[in-house]
Every structure is written in structure tokens, then in C-alpha cells.
């Protein structure tokens, strides 16, 4: 019987550890985890549990290029009454009282040479989830898709929308 070879054991342990790490990393999680935000806002709670319409907080999609992130005042509209003592809500109230905006971290982004307009897509009746995924399951919002031409062009083709360069690039 051969003696234990420490090197082999070490390699095996390392392999298993990596496997476990990979398993954890690639495990089909209920939803992706996006970047950390200054306030622990949960889309799952607001859009999922409370069933608040996307447009309530992002009215820009109806008549503008940007979806727009709600101003602090809008958060306070509800949270003056709802769980005002919650530590995360306290952060919002402080921001409101100190007149300092909250710097949210972008989860979805397109390069600067791309000119995307929400309004046109919403007018065509495209569901928000088509690009943004199932936000009702996301606590920390993450990009559901890579917003690149490989994603945009097939959809434009299928819907007989223009695929001209100047539609998105200028």
C-alpha cells in the first residue's frame, strides 16, 4: 500500500473547493445580484410584492429618452408613513432633509455612442421585462441582458423596425 501522497490530496481538495465555488457561482439563483447601492432598495419588494407599476417610479419611459430614477421627494411620498423608522428609510429621509441627492449605481448601461429612447419602445408596447428581465424577483437590481447589438438587432428585425446605423448611433 502506498503511503498517502500529500500533493495528490492537496490537489484533490483544491479541485473540490474550486468545484464547490464554481457550483455556488453558477448555481441557478432565483435572480441575479446587481451592484451594491447606497440604499438597500429592493425591486422585488416594490415591483413584486407590492405590485407597484414600473411607470409610477419611472415615468420618463412614457415621454422621454430616459426611464428616470425617482427623485428623493418621490420616495418620501410613501415612506413618510410607511416604515419611517427602518434604517434604510432613515437614510432616505436624511437625504431629503439635507437636500443631498442619492447617487444610485447604474445596473443597466449602454455605451455613449448609443442613443436609446425608452419612449419609442414603450409606445410600441414592448414590455419592460423584455430588456430588464424579471425585476420582481430581484432584490438588488442587475442587468438581465447585455444591452449590445447582438441583443437589439434580432428584436428590431423580428419587429420590422429599422436596423439602420443612424437609428441608434450618431
Amino acid at each position: 500500500m502506498t503511503s498517502h501522497r500529500p500533493a495528490a490530496v492537496l490537489a484533490l481538495v483544491l479541485f473540490l473547493t474550486l468545484l464547490a465555488a464554481a457550483a455556488v457561482y453558477f448555481l441557478p439563483w432565483p435572480a441575479a445580484i446587481g451592484p451594491a447601492q447606497p440604499v438597500a432598495f429592493s425591486h422585488r419588494v416594490h415591483a413584486g410584492v407590492k405590485q407597484i407599476s414600473c411607470i409610477f417610479c419611472h415615468p420618463g419611459v412614457i415621454d422621454g429618452p430616459h426611464a428616470t430614477v425617482p427623485p428623493v421627494a418621490k420616495c418620501m411620498l410613501c415612506h413618510q408613513k410607511i416604515i419611517p423608522k427602518h434604517p434604510e428609510i432613515v437614510k432616505i429621509r436624511q437625504a431629503y432633509e439635507r437636500d443631498t441627492p442619492i447617487a444610485w449605481v447604474k445596473a443597466n448601461d449602454v455605451p455613449e455612442f448609443v442613443y436609446f429612447t425608452h419612449e419609442r419602445h414603450i409606445r410600441e408596447g414592448i414590455d419592460c421585462g423584455r430588456c430588464h428581465g424579471n425585476v420582481t424577483a430581484m432584490d438588488r437590481l442587475a442587468a438581465a441582458t447585455e444591452l449590445n447589438m447582438g441583443f437589439c438587432i434580432p428584436c428590431h428585425r423580428d419587429n420590422k423596425a429599422s436596423v439602420d446605423c443612424y437609428v441608434c448611433h450618431r
Binding site: 430614477v69 447617487a103 429599422s162
Partner: protein, 1022 residues
């Protein structure tokens, strides 16, 4: 091959580069920072428009500032303003660059004592220091300001009165005082009238550059183009004017081929100062032929000052030419003579202005016109410039300063524009400067208080009496500046003597309150919000007339006897005693004349403000510095023009440095060194020098470029338009302040810019179409190897009327502003690397050396574009709406497209630009900022096309013809450019492309099928 698609190949090869880039963390997560409490009516990512007034010159055009996400991005003309009707000149376009100027003052400055340097100070300390100064027992507080009207003028006047002082002086370096003097002498009206150029049918300009800088150039350029319109009425572009019965004519008399002169149908190059004599010779001819319609006796008496023969001798024109001009002037029914070069102060300009007034009275352009075109010279609406101080007054006031005087200077750069007088400031007890920049005068001050940019301030301006234009903030203050009105009100308040307007009972709390009280007083029925939205109360509906001008049907009576400036009439201009026939149509003076003054170093100076830099106040704007001068194509330049014969006699070659000093100078410091440009565009007795450069303070852009020619303008009015100067070769290195983008005005028979005769242009029926014309549509493909492009819904195209284009360069600067085009600086311009997407190239008429045509050259958006097939990465693409697109994110910078472009309309980014932080705030967020290694060019302002399409979609309607206006089209003072859709049968461009007898395509013979059609320039002698 491996069956690898192009896309897959690129993806694979890009992988390695991508891995490197990713490891360096090129892209950082952006932040989304919403408002705490959002402002009303301003939506993120959407345009808002604020109506205000342009304060870049005394013309006071209405301005629309386009605002986006808290920042004023782009200046446009206000269509409701009767001054500019939606157009804007290059200087107006640069207003936003003035707002974001990195050299603006950010906080107050003060000197602890006279010899100390200016130091940073808090507002409270600076104001306290000023109050300290004002509290001392002074005799006088003097206010010298740039031209102000309305509420700020009231505050200034009240403040001056508070300190028992003399009246406020409004200092304008170009104040047209000879013209005002002439009006006072001849008509008893000390004013600058409103010139209704659009009503004229014949303009005789005596050195007045009314298309570039003279009084109200945007207004005049529009009127000029409308008065000369030759397109049939159904093509009439300008909704405010009906097309004239017959096209008008411009005759220009002067020593230098200015932009205005180059647009004249006839240019008579005369010796400096001969303009007035030519006018008098014409007047004598009118009298002799009995063509004087009004006040004949008074005119005859006034004209007696010189005999007809004498005038003709000085004029230097053939008698037959004078007779012809006189006949044309009398027969035109709507003739007007304009006099006084913009920067002139001398007696020759006074003389010419008087002669012009007599001519105007003679044919009734001030009223009494037989055919009743309406008043052209309208004194019922005097211009704001009528309130400007004489240079003499300003100089005297500054010279009188003593230890008991305090001077408050508001935006008045006397040290630069009146350098001889600025020394007086040192004797004053204290100098307080209010202005947005640390200019030459501010550097002499004891306390410098930063004021708002006009785009940040409240205020008003009255360009013409009764026309109340409002100024409102278009963006929040960038720096720690204040409104000049508020500063004065605060100072008065702090000394416990608050100011109250004459129409209020109690002192207003701030300047805005004052402004609103004033508005309520003058327009009690007019809502303030509505007025702000409109930009003011203009009292004029499109196409209508001001009520006041209808009453002024009678021209003012001439003063009898007319007191001419006798000193001038007695003496004869040095070189113009009939020796030199005025040159015309490419003649050159005989060698005998050149010999007689071989070693003569004596010249008449001719100072002209540049169309871009004006009197130097806008010299710190990179766009304006890099904009090529209309006639010379010079950028970042400061130079002197000299006639070839004189240069040869002095042994000078082009680019040599010359030292210019006053002829009778006792003060040797009044001398400047400049490179000489040798050209027959100036008369041989004249040395023409551009104004506006030579700043030694103000900002990093303006500083140390060329020389300040205001040094050569004495305070005392000279006998000629400008003083006589002496020229010699300068020792030392050449000043290197001349950077033309291209010196070529000859087309080498390529016929890029084409001319046609009036008869052909207005032929009825139109002459048969030329066969070389190819529509940029499938029908234009006849013998082509490639299949035509099919267009989806639209085929965008542009028509450019070369007869309307005056070459002012507003479009080129608007393009810089709209499309984030970088400025490269003089060294790169010398290498031919300027980035202009649109340039206006002047070409000389083959028929008439005294006339230029201006060819706006931009990407032609060819249907068979040579740039497209040569691009290896499909970065140069034909879009489905016919545009030739440059896709920046694909471009790898081979520059093949540029090589293959016959129009040279493409520009390559050789460097990444180092944008100053504040100038990035001006960037149009709808246009990509290009980086190094990328080709770029005109997009027909695709962002504006998309915007209009989007708006139409939102409003559920089709696009309207003319709704889309690229930046160049929108700003053009003469509406020379027309944009539209060739797939629409009824669009104006379609009609011009298909039917206009003047249409042609530049280099159309190359079968590129350009989507820009040019309408030939019309000449009277082709």
C-alpha cells in the same frame, strides 16, 4: 475559407484586445443621480427652450437658449424677434461658449493696496471694500459701462445720481459717432436710425460693412437677401417678407474688399477717404439731371460746398460711371446710401455720412418716396447705439480723474479699446470693475466683482426704441457671480440710500423686482410669464410694420445751411487728388503711379472689426478664433493687408513682419508689429488692419495672439477715416500670427462655384436642364455599374442658394456648437487639421475680380458616395434615409474614405482632445464626442432629424416640410440653406432640385449624385 463570418472573425480577433481592455477596467459603473425635489417643467434628458436676448454686440438679437439637464447647450435665434427672425450670427452662436469660458472669473478679487496684486476675496469682503471706498468723502462716482438700456441703465443712472455724479457713459468701441454727428448736423437728430434694408432696392454702401459688423448685421443680412431674392415667388422662403418686384442691387465703394464688398454687385475700390467724394459726385449728378425729389433747394445749397468738378476729381471715378450710378440710384425707387465704416471716428466718415444723408433725402428713402416702399431710414425707432458715448467723452472723463474720483467700470474694456485713455484710471482714488472676465481693464482695477454671463442673468435690452427684449437666466449660475444690477442695488442699500425706480414708491428688493416693476409700468396689459416665453414685447407681428414707422412717412427736414466739417473739405486726401482712377474689374494700376511713390512708407490706415471677434470682446472664444475669416480664410490671425505695388516698393514679401506706427506720432508706444498679407483687395494708399486681437489679458485663448490695432486709433478724430500710418520692416522674428486654412481663391476652372446672369436666372420659361444633373434617387442612375439605393420613407437633401449666401460663417460656428466639434489651435490649422464639418470657401468671380462667391462645403451625402465602397470595416455607410453615415464605433481610422472623397468634407481626429472641464458642460448630449483615430463629418444633424421624427410620431402626424432644420440651416441669417425630403413631391428642396434654373451639383460630373444642390450665384455682368 473557414466559413467564418465577418462578424465572427471580428469578434474573435477583438477578443484578445477586449481581454486587455477589461483587465484595465475601462468602463466604470456610472451613477444615476436624481434630484431631491425635481424642478417643474424640466424633464431629464429633454430639451427646454428659454427666450432671452443676445448681448454679444449692441444689435440685441432675440435668442433662444436650448437647455438640457441644467445646462444651456445651444444658442438659436428667436423667431419672434423682429431683429433677427430666428437667425443668429457666429458671435451669437458663441454665446454659450462665453458662458462656459474656462477663463471666467469665479470669485471677487481685490487689491489690498495699490501696488499689491489682485487676490481672491469673499463677496462680503469685496463688497465691504467697495463700501469703504464709497464712504470716503469723494466728490464723484463715475460709471462707465458697455451699452445698456432698460432696467440696468436705470439702476446705473440712479446709482450715479446718488453720488451726485456726472452721467453714466456707455462705452462702445465701435459707436458710429461720425454717422450720429452727421445726422445731428444735417437733420438735427443725434441718433442712429433703424435701417429697413429689406425695403431697399438699391444700396450704395460707402464703406459700411452692414453684412458683417455694422450696427445690426443679422437684421441687415436678412433684409439684404430678401431684397435681392430672385427665386420665383412660390419659392419665397422668408415668411416675414414678400418677395420684391425686382431684385435689388448693392454697390459698394471703399478701399478694402470686405465681406460686404465681396457681395456687392459692383465694387468700386477707391482710395481711403474717397467714399464721401464719390457720394458727393453722385449728388451733383442728381442735381444736374434734376433727379432730386425732395428738398431740392436745401440739397443744392448743401452740395455747393464743393463744385461738381472738384468732387469728381476727388472721387477718382469716370464721369460716365458716376452718371450711371446717379441714374441707377435715382431710378431705383427705394435707394439708400449707407456710410461710416464700423470702427471709423474720423472726419472722412463724417463727410461721407453727410453726403449719404443728402442722397437719402434726395430720393426720399427717409419717406416721401414716390412709389411708397415705406421708410428705409427710419428715425421713429432710433437704435440703442444712439445712446453710446463719444470716444472723446470717455477719454475726457478718464483723463479728468483725480484722487477724489471713484470709477465703476461695467464690462467696458477701455484699456484694450481706448488704450491711450486708460492711463487716467491710475489717478482715480479707486477703480471698481464689474464683468465676467478678467480683461485688460479689470487687471487695472482695485476691486473686481464677477458678474453673471448674459445667459445667467436677468435683464432687458431695447435694441430699437419701443422694442422691449427680455433677458432671463437660461441656466443656474456656474460660479460665484452676481448680477451687475444687484451689485449696485446692494451697494446703495449698504450705504443706507436704497435706489428706487421712478415708477415705484418703495425700493425694490432686488434687480429682478426692479425689472418686473419696469415691465408692469411699460406693459401693464402684458403678462410677465407670456413675455418671458416670447422673449419680450416686440410690438410687431410677422409681415406687419411697427405702428410708429407708419406715421413717419415724411423725411426730416435738412438743416440749412448745412455745416460741413470744413477742415476736411479744405484739404485734399493725400493720395486721392485725381491721380488714381479707382480700380475696378481686375485692372491694375499703371507702373508709373507705382514709381512715383516708390519709397513712400505712408499709408492710410483702415481698421476693420472682424466678423467673428468684432471689437475684441469675443476674442476668448475658441470657435470664433478658429472660424476662417470670410474673405481671407484666416484663423487665429492678426495681420495687415497691403497692396502688391506698395509691398514691392517697400521690398516686402507676404508674411514679413512690419512695424506700423502713427504718421505724426509723438508717442512711440502707439505702434504695432504684424505680418503683412499682400493683396490687391486693398487700395494702394491703404493699409487694412483687423481689430479684435492682441489681448494681453482676458483669457488663455485670446492672450498673445497678434497685436491690438486699437493702439493705432487716436482719441481725437482724425482727418481721414482713420489716422495716417508709417510702415517699415520690423526687426526680429516674424510674429507668426497669420494662419489661413487655405489661401486659394482661384478655382482653376473647375467650376465648383458657378455663376449665372440675371437674365438666365429669371428666364421664363427656364432654360433646358443640364444633362449632367443626377438626382440622388434611383432615377439618377443611368449608366452605373452598381444598383441604386432604395430609400425608406425619406431621402434627405439640402439646397444652398449661393445668391443668398453672404459668407458670414454663422453656419460653420453653429455646426461646431451643435456637433461637439473640437478646436485644434493655430499650429494644427497650419497642418490642415481643422475639424470644421462645414466650411465656407470664397472663390473669386471669373468675371469680376472685385466679387467673391461663397461656397458652403459640407458632406454632400452623395447617393453614389465614393467614400462608402473603400471602407474596409463598413464604417462609412449609406443609410436607408439616404444619409451617408459615419459609424464612429466601427471606424478604425484607415482614412481611405477621406482619400476618396472628392469634396474633402471628412475630418480625422489626430488626437484626443483635452476639453477644459467647463467646455464639456456645453457638449451636446445627443452627439457622440469622438476620440482619436476616428473619422467624422457632417451628419445633416441626424439628432435633429430624429428629434423631429420623434415629435411627429408622438403627435401622430406626418413630418412637415421645413420642420427639420439642421444647425446650419436654423442659424443662417439669409436663409440660404434649405433642408428637406426628396421623396416628398411638394417639399421645397424637391422643387428646387427638379425645377430651379440655377441648380447644379458640385463636381456632379463625377457621377457622385450629391444630395446637396447649389443654386448659382447671380452676377449682373456675366
Amino acid at each position: 475559407m473557414l466559413g467564418l463570418s465577418r462578424r465572427a472573425f471580428l469578434q474573435v480577433t477583438a477578443g484578445s484586445a477586449g481581454a486587455v481592455a477589461a483587465s484595465m477596467g475601462l468602463r466604470q459603473a456610472g451613477k444615476l443621480i436624481p434630484y431631491v425635489v425635481p424642478p417643474e417643467e424640466i424633464k431629464p434628458g429633454q430639451w427646454a427652450t428659454f427666450a432671452t436676448t443676445c448681448r454679444e454686440c449692441p444689435a440685441g438679437c432675440g435668442l433662444h437658449a436650448r437647455h438640457r439637464d441644467g445646462r444651456a447647450i445651444k444658442a438659436e435665434g428667436n423667431p419672434q424677434s423682429p431683429v433677427n427672425r430666428g437667425a443668429l450670427c457666429a458671435r451669437g452662436q458663441s454665446a454659450v461658449q462665453g458662458l462656459y469660458d474656462p477663463d471666467r472669473l469665479r470669485h471677487p478679487l481685490r487689491r489690498v493696496h495699490r501696488d499689491a496684486t489682485l487676490e481672491h476675496a469673499a463677496w462680503a469682503d469685496a463688497i465691504a471694500a467697495v463700501i469703504e471706498i464709497l464712504k470716503k468723502p469723494q466728490k464723484n462716482v463715475h460709471i462707465v459701462s458697455d451699452l445698456q438700456t432698460g432696467a440696468l441703465a436705470e439702476v446705473q443712472t440712479a446709482f450715479a445720481a446718488l453720488h451726485g455724479s456726472e452721467p453714466v457713459l456707455y462705452f462702445e468701441p465701435c459707436n458710429y459717432e461720425p454717422l450720429r454727428d452727421a445726422h445731428r448736423i444735417a437733420l438735427g437728430l443725434d441718433a442712429i436710425p433703424r435701417y429697413r434694408i429689406e425695403r431697399s432696392r438699391y444700396i450704395l454702401s460707402l464703406g459700411a460693412d452692414f453684412l458683417e459688423t455694422w450696427i445690426s448685421p443679422v437684421e441687415f443680412a436678412r433684409g439684404f437677401a430678401n431684397a435681392r431674392e430672385i427665386r420665383p415667388a412660390e419659392y419665397g422662403r422668408d415668411p416675414y417678407e414678400s418677395p420684391p418686384r425686382r431684385p435689388g442691387k448693392l454697390v459698394y465703394v471703399g478701399p478694402r474688399l470686405s465681406m460686404t464688398a465681396a457681395n456687392a454687385d459692383e465694387f468700386f475700390q477707391c482710395q481711403s477717404g474717397a467714399e464721401g467724394w464719390i457720394a458727393l459726385a453722385i449728388l451733383h449728378e442728381l442735381l444736374a439731371a434734376d433727379w432730386v425729389q425732395n428738398q431740392r433747394d436745401a440739397i443744392a445749397a448743401a452740395a455747393k460746398i464743393v463744385g461738381a468738378e472738384h468732387a469728381l476729381n476727388h472721387a477718382g471715378l469716370e464721369k460716365s460711371t458716376v452718371a450711371r450710378l446717379a441714374h441707377e440710384f435715382a431710378a431705383a425707387r427705394g435707394a439708400v446710401a449707407l456710410a461710416c465704416p464700423t470702427a471709423a471716428t474720423g472726419d472722412a466718415a463724417r463727410w461721407a455720412s453727410l453726403a449719404a444723408i443728402l442722397l437719402n433725402v434726395a430720393v426720399g428713402s427717409g419717406g416721401n418716396d414716390a412709389e411708397n416702399n415705406g421708410v428705409i431710414v427710419d428715425f421713429s425707432q432710433p437704435h440703442a447705439l444712439s445712446a453710446a458715448a463719444k470716444l472723446r467723452e470717455v477719454a475726457d472723463r478718464l483723463a479728468s480723474l483725480g484722487p477724489n474720483d471713484v470709477v465703476i467700470l461695467h464690462n467696458a474694456n477701455v484699456a484694450f479699446a481706448l488704450p491711450a485713455a486708460a492711463a487716467g484710471l491710475q489717478n482715480a482714488a479707486a477703480v471698481i470693475y464689474l464683468g465676467p472676465q478678467l480683461d485688460e481693464t479689470a487687471e487695472l482695477a482695485d476691486v473686481v466683482l464677477p458678474t453673471d454671463s448674459p445667459l445667467e442673468a436677468w435683464g432687458d435690452y431695447e435694441p430699437y426704441a419701443g422694442m422691449h427684449s427680455l433677458i432671463q437666466p437660461t441656466t443656474a449660475r456656474l460660479y460665484n457671480s452676481r448680477n451687475a444690477g444687484d451689485i449696485l442695488l446692494a451697494l446703495a442699500q449698504a450705504t443706507n440710500r436704497p435706489l428706487t425706480p421712478p415708477y415705484a414708491s418703495s425700493p425694490p428688493e432686488d434687480f429682478l423686482h426692479w425689472l418686473r416693476l419696469r415691465w408692469q409700468h411699460f406693459h401693464p396689459q402684458h403678462d410677465w410669464q407670456d413675455a418671458l416665453r416670447a422673449g419680450g414685447e416686440f410690438d410687431e407681428t410677422p409681415g406687419g410694420e411697427m405702428p410708429a414707422s407708419r406715421d413717419a412717412g415724411v423725411s426730416p427736414a435738412l438743416c440749412v445751411p448745412l455745416s460741413w466739417p470744413m477742415e476736411y473739405s479744405k484739404s485734399v486726401p493725400q493720395h486721392s487728388a485725381g491721380k488714381m482712377p479707382a480700380r475696378h474689374e481686375g485692372e491694375t494700376p499703371s507702373s508709373r503711379e507705382a514709381d512715383t511713390r516708390a519709397a513712400d512708407d505712408h499709408f492710410h490706415l483702415w481698421l476693420w472689426p472682424s466678423v467673428f471677434l468684432f471689437d475684441g470682446r469675443s476674442a476668448n472664444r475658441p470657435w470664433l478664433q478658429e472660424a476662417p475669416d470670410p474673405t481671407t480664410q484666416a484663423t487665429w490671425s492678426s495681420w495687415a493687408d497691403m497692396h502688391p505695388d506698395r509691398a514691392a516698393a517697400l521690398g516686402l514679401r507676404g508674411g514679413d513682419a512690419i512695424r506700423i506706427q502713427l504718421y505724426d506720432a509723438t508717442d512711440k508706444s502707439a505702434a504695432i508689429t504684424l505680418p503683412v498679407r499682400i493683396t490687391a483687395d486693398v487700395a494702394d494708399d491703404t493699409l487694412a488692419v483687423v481689430l479684435g486681437q492682441g489681448h494681453w489679458a482676458m483669457g488663455n485663448t485670446a492672450r498673445n495672439l497678434g497685436a491690438n490695432a486699437f493702439r493705432l486709433r487716436p482719441i481725437q478724430p482724425t482727418r481721414d477715416n482713420f489716422p495716417a500710418v508709417r510702415v517699415r520692416r520690423a526687426a526680429g522674428a516674424n510674429p507668426l500670427s497669420y494662419h489661413p486654412t487655405s489661401a486659394m481663391q482661384d478655382q482653376h476652372r473647375r467650376e465648383l462655384l458657378q455663376w449665372t446672369s440675371l437674365a438666365q436666372a429669371s428666364a421664363d420659361p427656364p432654360p433646358p436642364r443640364d444633362d449632367a444633373f443626377r438626382m440622388p434617387l434611383p432615377e439618377g442612375y443611368r449608366t452605373d455599374a452598381y444598383a441604386p439605393h432604395e430609400h425608406r420613407n425619406h431621402r434627405w437633401a439640402m439646397a444652398i442658394d449661393l445668391h443668398r449666401c453672404v459668407g458670414c460663417g454663422a453656419c460653420a460656428v453653429a455646426c461646431y456648437a451643435e456637433n461637439n466639434i473640437p478646436v485644434v489651435g493655430p499650429a494644427e490649422v497650419d497642418r490642415g487639421r481643422e475639424m470644421a464639418w462645414l466650411k465656407i470657401v470664397p472663390y473669386r468671380s471669373p468675371h469680376d475680380a472685385g466679387r467673391l462667391g461663397f461656397l458652403p462645403m459640407l458632406c454632400q451625402h452623395c447617393d453614389a458616395a465614393p467614400c462608402e465602397p473603400v471602407c474596409p470595416v463598413y464604417a462609412s455607410m449609406h443609410t436607408e434615409e439616404g444619409l451617408n453615415a459615419q459609424v464612429y464605433n466601427r471606424c478604425i481610422g484607415t482614412r481611405y474614405c477621406n482619400n476618396n472623397c472628392p469634396y474633402k468634407a471628412r475630418r480625422f481626429n489626430w488626437f484626443d482632445r483635452d476639453w477644459p472641464e467647463s467646455s464639456r458642460w456645453q457638449h451636446n448630449p445627443e452627439v457622440t464626442v469622438r476620440e482619436r483615430g476616428v473619422m467624422e463629418k457632417c451628419t445633416f444633424c441626424i439628432q435633429r432629424i430624429r428629434h423631429a421624427q420623434h415629435r411627429a410620431l408622438r403627435e401622430d402626424r406626418p413630418l412637415r416640410d421645413g420642420e427639420i432644420q439642421p444647425a446650419c440651416v436654423a442659424t443662417c441669417p439669409t436663409s440660404a440653406m434649405i433642408f428637406g425630403d426628396l421623396l416628398r413631391g411638394d417639399s421645397l428642396v424637391t422643387r428646387l432640385f427638379r425645377n430651379d434654373p440655377r441648380r447644379y451639383q458640385v463636381l456632379g460630373e463625377l457621377n457622385t449624385k450629391p444630395a446637396v444642390v447649389y443654386l448659382r450665384r447671380v452676377t449682373w455682368n456675366a
